[in-house]
């Protein structure tokens, strides 16, 4: 709270605050965020990082081992695997992001409302959650995709139908504790509506456990999308999706190990970075490891 910081322009002050915040980050959060940022940037600037087109087939150069010209080698159609992995970041990270944070948004809200109000709404919601959680996640998603047909669009529909349940359950249990606290009582005494109390007062206090959990969920959703695409139910070839690439390399695994090995390593790198962020966030937010990892 120096006078210098207060007279500096707003952008400067925000930057200083950010630097101060980052300085307090645990090491896992720093490493995780850096790696994740690099991966996202690599996806955004993919055209500048590789001269190759991820769809361009160069049959004369098919099944080339990794070299300087092709750092990750080429696949059976002579497509550059490094280029495909880079463009794949756009697909996998995007689907992973939306399949995690869209359900988080309404899952947390539903759970918070149910926890605050109780009554029949809570009872019905909890029964629905019980069923959604009772099914093995992947099986339920596959059954929904069997109903709707394969494709990215239907992955979104399937995940949006199912994945909110975990967040609702998490937010509800936090809300049960939160609603007994004095500030909620105070807000009620002031005559605020329940919507305002839940969304404006309690939500900021209960959302952090969901955010920590969302990092593990993000990893799982990337595994889900690549898994479904591997099974042929998700992103369809020739799109450079990581799981679909691994599936394509399956028949060539003896002659060309790099086709399925290297895209898998990128999945592992991305997932580990996300887990590091989750671990770091849990520490920073003072949760004792509520994340899956």
């Amino acid at each position: 709270m120096t006078s210098l910081a207060n007279t500096a322009p707003l952008s400067r002050r925000l930057l200083q605050q950010l630097i101060e915040e980052v300085r307090h980050w645990p090491i896992s959060l720093k490493i995780g965020t850096s790696v994740l940022t690099l991966i996202v940037l690599a996806g955004v600037f993919a055209p500048w990082l590789t001269p190759y087109d991820p769809y361009y087939q160069d049959l004369l150069n098919a099944l080339q081992a990794p070299s300087w010209a092709h750092p990750f080698g080429t696949d059976m159609f002579g497509r550059d695997i490094f280029a495909r992995v880079l463009y794949g970041i756009r697909i996998d990270m995007q689907i992973g992001f939306f399949t995690t944070y869209v359900p988080l948004t309404y899952g947390v809200m539903l759970g918070a409302l149910a926890g605050y109000h109780g009554g029949w709404f809570d009872a019905v919601l909890m029964r629905i959650i019980d069923v959604a959680v009772a099914f093995p996640f992947l099986v339920l998603i596959i059954v929904i995709i069997a109903i709707l047909g394969p494709g990215v669009h239907n992955i979104y529909v399937a995940v949006f139908l199912v994945a909110w349940a975990m967040y609702a359950r998490l937010a509800r249990s936090e809300m049960l504790v939160e609603r007994t606290k004095d500030y909620v009582l105070a807000a009620r005494v002031l005559g605020f509506g329940s919507g305002r109390i839940v969304l404006a007062h309690a939500l900021p206090n209960i959302i952090s456990s969901s955010i920590v959990f969302s990092m593990s969920d993000f990893v799982l959703n990337i595994l889900l999308v690549s898994g479904l695409s591997f099974l042929g139910l998700g992103v369809q070839p020739p799109a450079p999706e990581w799981g679909a690439m691994i599936a394509e390399g399956r028949d060539f695994i003896l002659d060309a190990w790099w086709i399925c090995t290297l895209p898998g390593l990128v999945v592992v790198l991305t997932g580990t970075a996300l887990s590091l962020v989750g671990d770091g966030l849990a520490r920073r937010l003072g949760h004792n490891r509520k994340s899956l990892m």
Binding site: R127, A134, P136, L138, A146, L148, V219
Partner: protein, 313 residues
Amino acid sequence: MLFLNYIANRLLQMMPVIFGISLVGFFAIHLVPGDPIQIMMHGHASPESVAAARAQLGLDRPLLEQYGRFVMLAVTGDFGQSIVQRQAVGAIVGERVLPTVFLLSYSTVLAILIALPLALISARYSDHLVDHAIRIGGMVGFAMPPFWVGLLLMLFFGLYLRWLPVSGLGNDFADRVRHLLLPSATIALFLAPILVQSLRSAMLEVMTADYIEVARAKGLTPRRILLKHVLRNALIPVITILAVNIGWLLSGAVIVEYVFSYPGLGSLLVRAVSYRDYPVIQGLSIVFGVLVVIVNLMADLSYILVDRRVLKK
């Protein structure tokens, strides 16, 4: 009496779940956009055979009547005929239940064998270097796609070193254990990281209990406290964690069975979906749901064996 109450209570709590499972199974065919019969027959079928299939599946009846019929038949294990195989769904699904259960049990045992020592070390030396190393190793393991791990294990141990078979079921028990080592290890590697983390925090929680303090005050060695006192009391959380993760395990099994062409429920599901064999999908979704319910029930029963206090709650 307490025992019967406890069981009855548990069963009662599962009724809504079982009802929900039956709804999911039932609607697996009714929510198909367009005409499920046309889709199942891939567009080339005469109007007469479409009408016949519709009548055979009972899709021309009122919805409520269909649901009633579906439940009545499902209870007896009758899910109708497979469209692709021209065989009873019950028989097709039934013969694949045991291989999947075997694979899952095997994977669970392997996962515990991997996770228990790691969790013990992690809890014993919490926040030491070895704890951090185990946690980071867990994060890497958690991020590994099971289908990719399966392919790599197959490539390395099966095709390169030629130590282990990459497919087939094996003849006797020992041979079977050998044949299923790779797929089970794949699922175990998928499950173990979560087990380690939950076990570690369960053990750390037990370590703060009063009786541990007493044991320490008695002058017992840390090793003895950990193995005799902490481990035993961390058993309940272990069972819960395993039961909670059964859905997880089944999800892993679906993909791993497909990778290893293992004749279980998971590979059947993938095949049924690609052929759009809706009666098989219906049967499988019920079986998967019921498997989860049974495992949870078994977990509830095993709590009684580990700790009789749960009966009093």
